[in-house]
Symmetry: C2
DNA sequence: AGCGCTAATTGAATCGGTTCAACGAAATTG
DNA sequence: CAATTTCGTTGAACCGATTCAATTAGCGCT
């Protein structure tokens, strides 16, 4: 009897019935063709073709298999952040390389939109999460915990020992930067920092340092200060301005710093983005970098290599951090893993000896 | 009686049993809390907490719901391509914006690895695909067809009317570029092209043009030629070099072009990447852009705005293309949709009047 | 008390596969 | 020839939820 097409999309069971074999056999035809006799195999294939069955639906397979074979990357920023921000992009490179190698998929998740029907941390079909804790790291971790899936936090502000995390040594990195600047003879220095607490910017004093939510910023500042003091700088007089890692708040900070009496001859920036913004601001004001002002960044994003002047910076192994995070998740071991990768001073053209 | 924890992860059914209610009620507690009496709701919540149930598993929900609420972006390149290539990145911006707005997820899929057990076009859990047909567009389309999911092709080389696609008018865009160059008085022109057939580079003659696999390259070249001829240029003498859209093959092409007798005063490049590479090569050889050689690109990637000199180019609405592709997929209408978005000439600093 | 109405809950079917113990038939062995 | 092994196939359980028709409970009204 001729096989007729069905109304709804064909299923495995339909093929089985039409071909007069069991579901298990049809399943095998598509998943382990070797175990089924050639004659049967071809027959099933032919029937499948006739009723328009194109192979097992991943939705069904998933439920049984349990494993999605994909990892999710979550952040509180909008999805476009993954493709715009240089740091995120570099990180994603490492993450995507590791996924490619493991044959795992990559799903991007934005936790920003708390509404219903959105693909979020609660509903994403993934085997584990890499958390990009740029902002609201705590909430992100909390959301993810509820999913009971393995996860690794990156750029996590807090050194919580119950959370797997990959990062680099902020304290050591900051010291590297400060050593370089002091070694060039600079003593009149300003700091352009990242956030100490959420959604605020402006001057940072001892009180703000004390109440810092983000240990990244705190550790880096402490690193700067330790070295500066060792070189006889009175850190209580060093202007520290908290930015939102963008042009606007960086410019505001520079306005404020340069409005003060003594102008700095060097800028310690806690990110390359801030450093690049600062250079742009300085150049627009007719100040030469590094002749008039030395600028050092932090992170080591690719843009620092092509800027003018090329950016001196402390480089984190961003790609490597992403790669490790994925490896840890795919490892499957469920104990807490914390890794700190080494940082490196990269001297390029945006810093020069002090002329003072 | 006290509720005890289970060995395996708790399921909805376990909660139902432990709380002495039906599965349906527990499902409602988590999905439509309004419909269940407060007393029951709280009781179920409490029991769920005790046995360690954190809410419905998306895997199960998926099977029933049928909709994943995510779209996939597939290409033959490795995953890292999405974060490295400027064109892809800009496209992804549009795609991710549209996904964000629709509350849909975003999964990246590389079709490169044909092995088993990999997250690929056949197994990705998505509701539809955006196909980035940079290379091997045909195979990609074929693979995707088998999934019987809606898909939209971008940058598809062939004008296949059975496939939904979003693109821009290559012929018109190329004419724009050529008009600009001719209008500046240039008559001695070379073309740096993209691929006409897979995995080859070098000179393009009438034969290669004839046998072009990629209509994008062919249409652009035809656009260039039509305008050049209208300005009295003998196009059979115009050197056309096919690149692989990278520095190496662009440099090789320039070596070849400049080794020939008459040096061009203007370069028509089929991508901004090639144009930027060309500028770099020219500058390294001591040739000034645009004084000695004018260079015009194609695409309109962000890098063209910050390069030195800033790049004159034909801009495709890349972000918009990505956005439309997602909208078409989420629309759900299953007829074939083909859209051609307008291109625009953007005159910046890499082109100048011919001094001849 | 009897009636109609609404709101809350149940039970079973369903989604689309994979897996595995068990089984029958054919091939191999002692 | 009986015993064992191998191979291919079956049938049913299972994965973890959602959905909806049917049922029950509770309430107000005459």
């Amino acid at each position: 009897m001729p096989v007729t097409k069905l109304e709804r999309a064909a299923r495995l069971a339909d093929v089985a019935k039409a071909a007069g074999v069991s579901q298990g056999t049809v399943s095998n035809v598509f998943n382990r063709p070797q175990v089924v006799r050639e004659e049967v195999r071809e027959h099933v294939r032919e029937v499948a073709r006739q009723i328009g069955y194109r192979g097992p639906d991943p939705k069904g397979r998933l439920l049984r298999a349990g494993k999605v074979n994909a990892i999710g990357v979550a952040t509180f920023e909008p999805l476009s952040y993954f493709f715009e921000d240089p740091f995120a992009r570099t990180l994603m490179q490492g993450i995507s390389e590791a996924c490619d190698k493991a044959g795992a998929g990559l799903s991007l998740v934005s936790a920003q939109n708390p509404e219903r029907l959105t693909w979020n941390v609660e509903s994403a079909l993934v085997d584990g999460f890499v958390l990009l804790c740029i902002e609201e790291g705590d909430r992100l971790v909390e959301l993810t915990r509820a999913r009971q899936l393995p996860f690794v936090a990156l750029a996590l502000g807090k050194p919580d020992p119950t959370i797997s995390a990959v990062g680099s040594d902020d304290f050591a990195g900051a010291k590297l930067a400060a050593e370089h600047i002091c070694g060039l003879g600079h003593r009149n220095i300003a700091v352009l920092a990242l956030e100490f607490v959420d959604d605020r910017f402006g001057w940072i004093g001892p009180r703000e340092l004390e109440g810092a939510v983000y240990s990244t910023s705190r550790d880096r500042l402490l690193g700067y200060f330790e070295v500066l003091e060792a070189h006889g700088v009175d850190t209580s007089k060093v202007p520290v301005w908290e930015t939102l890692n963008d042009m606007a708040t960086t410019a505001a900070g520079l306005e404020a710093v340069f409005a003060k009496g003594e102008r700095p001859t060097a800028l310690l920036c806690m990110s390359d983005r801030v450093a690049l913004s600062a250079i742009e601001w300085l150049q627009a004001r007719g100040l030469r970098v590094p002749d008039d002002v030395s600028v050092i960044g932090y992170d080591g994003i690719p843009e620092g290599e092509t800027s003018r002047p090329k950016l001196t910076t402390v480089s984190q192994p961003i790609v490597e951090i992403g790669r490790r995070a994925v490896e840890i998740i795919l490892d499957g071991a469920d104990e807490v893993r914390r890794e700190t990768l080494p940082v490196e001073l990269i001297v390029r053209d945006s810093t020069a000896p002090s002329r003072a």
